[in-house]
């Protein structure tokens, strides 16, 4: 059975460290990647991740299992990220492109694509996606990350970010519109109105 977090939170409220380890094992990757997408810095993302899990344990007794743990998890995580950003006196998010250059360029790209031309095309498309996401306003970027990358439902995104359902819809739509506008340069999106 997959670890969903609810049971672990209840057990953690009684000081169960094994439950904490289970939760950590199940969610530390997700926490790290989310923070990484926000900060583009491995060390900050790791700091935020460990702070998150400590906070979850410390406040486990306050957790109400009425809602989904995932939503609670991302809410706390998002708040932590925002607090960290504020502490860092950052008015805007760091330059996305530099993050991409630093981190993602080392990853295998287009490995599965047989022909060099196809690989080049896929690489180009991904480069455009990176650029495009980097250029989105913060609010749009967050909803896009939560929707497309973290696979949250609209209702969950609304809860995590403290927005109305309608605001989420509009932000996702605007985010996609902006993305498509940039991606029109790619032949794969050619002919699409933004």
């Amino acid at each position: 059975m997959a670890i969903t977090g609810e049971e672990q939170m209840i057990r953690m409220a009684t000081g169960d460290v094994v439950a904490f380890e289970e939760l950590l094992g199940a969610f530390q990757g997700a926490a790290f990647r989310f923070a990484y997408r926000i900060f583009r810095d491995r060390h900050i993302a790791e700091d935020v991740s460990q702070e998150l899990f400590f906070k979850l344990f410390r406040n486990a007794h306050k957790y109400k299992p009425a809602g989904k743990f995932k939503t609670y998890f991302y809410t706390v995580l998002n708040n932590l990220c925002m607090d960290t950003l504020r502490r860092m006196h950052k008015k805007s998010l760091p330059d996305f492109q530099s993050f991409e250059n630093n981190v993602l360029d080392g990853m295998p790209v287009g490995e599965e694509v047989g022909a060099p031309e196809a690989a080049a095309e896929v690489n180009e498309e991904r480069r455009l996606v990176r650029e495009a996401i980097g250029k989105l306003p913060e609010a749009q970027r967050k909803v896009i990350i939560l929707r497309e990358l973290e696979q949250l439902k609209y209702r969950e995104i609304a809860e995590v970010l403290g927005l109305s359902l309608n605001e989420v819809k509009v932000l996702i739509h605007r985010g996609r519109k902006s993305l498509l506008k940039i991606l029109q340069r790619s032949p794969l999106f050619e002919g699409i109105e933004s």
């Binding site: 670890i3 904490f20 380890e21 969610f27 990757g29 991740s49 993602l104 498509l180 699409i192 109105e193």
Partner: protein, 542 residues
Amino acid sequence: MISDEMRELLSAYVDGELPHTDAARVEDTAKRDPRLRRHIHAYRRLRDTLQVWDAEENQLEPSGRVRMRALSRVQALVAEREAEQQERRRRFFGGGWFQQPMSLAAGVLIAVTAGVLASFMGGEREGPTFAVRSDALPMEPVAAYGDFATPVDTSPLDVFSGDAQRWEEGALDRVIRNESEGILIEQDGEFVRWSRRAIEADRLIRNIDRHPDGRRVDIRETKTGEQPNVMVASWMRGAQAVRTPYEGVVALRLGAAKGTVPATRAVPARTEDDSRWVQAGELNDLHDIRVTKGAAVLTVAGELWVEPVEGGKPGEVGRARVVTATTWIKRGELVSMAWANETAADPSAHKQWALRAESIVLGPKARRVLINKSGRDQDVLEWMLATYGAEGVVSSARTTVAKHRLVIDRMVRALERDTGATGFAVYDSKNRVLGTELFATHDLMVEFAPRMLAGYMLEADGRVRLDKKSGGAAEVEAAAQEFLSDVLPRQVKRVVSVRDARNADDWPEGMRQVNLQTPSGSVVGHGLMVGDQPLHLSLFGE
């Protein structure tokens, strides 16, 4: 021109977030409007692109520091809370106004509880025994490795220095180095230090990605002078389960690779309550563990020392035996080694073995290809599901970090049920379970485990790529030939040929390989049978 309102609807439609009526409206309009269809296509394409990009980014994992730091903070918090609670209790009971009646009540309660427990656990429980149990690797390494092990007379050699030349020349005596900094240190997910001497010599050590799936496994590239080597350390990762034949308190000590192993679980008794995790930070410490006869003990491969303890107290170690296994791919040759070390209070009684195990194997993926070609066996599946299905061990789902402990727990439960069975799970460096190997008896595991592990190693090194070949038997055969032509020149003693794998001459007579399949026909593993008796079950990790 598509209105903004419609675009908003389209975006939600692609996400499946529209109410039924609105979704129907979008679909209806899309049937008539090709621009709308193109837009839907574009949104879907965008989503797919993001997800492909995300799949790559999902390879990013935090380093072990997150876990270590969070855990140590939590443990400190728990200790703090407990101390506070004790202080409160002390103040409360220290008042004296009802101290005497409470002491009496507590005494009665303890006596009753002890009585109940004693009757529940049985009065015939033996006291601590002073036997030695190593991990799942052979207790008697020379005998266990049998005819494919080559004990050699020894002279001093530090295997961790990278000075393998002398080992290859037959100089095999060595001193086990217990200083953690002398072996391997992991920083930011990279193994940055090999040995003190290696640092001084500025030898190149680095982790490399070589797995066909792009997953990182514990393969290290080293240099001996200018000569590049690849080493796969099977003892660095992986877990093993053994059934302890002992009863009582033993001390448990984790080995010397500080910082490189995940938490190890010793499950000494029949209930979860009695189990405990030993953290990597507690390496080289002794831990008292009470074991019940027949209980399953899980450990990182080759890194658990279970030592006898006088009176259940650590520190009076009579003997210790450690077996570690490593596989090197050196100068194009696959070399498996096993190290056995038995220490004694009397230094003159100290014994060491260094074994070179030479065999060639097919890794799990190569075996899977064979299985796909070798028919199905419903009986084994039913047996397996009946035996292990309830514990959830049988699964074809990808096992991720999230399931790391779950798999171990399930394995323990499975082992608890089946008294004869034993097995181990193999992990990659991200703690993903690559495979779970269960054997009907410990002896069988001893016989097969080294080769099974070597199979994982070969695949990790990217030398077995049978799974990459899809299509007909000819392609599989070609891949098999490629594999064999790669393997044959390596001076191996025996080769289990792909073609003859089902009747390999080193298997017991009548042994056959069978499929393990779900009722829907998906192959989830394979088994080895002699007649109707399943001997070994191998479950794929993904």
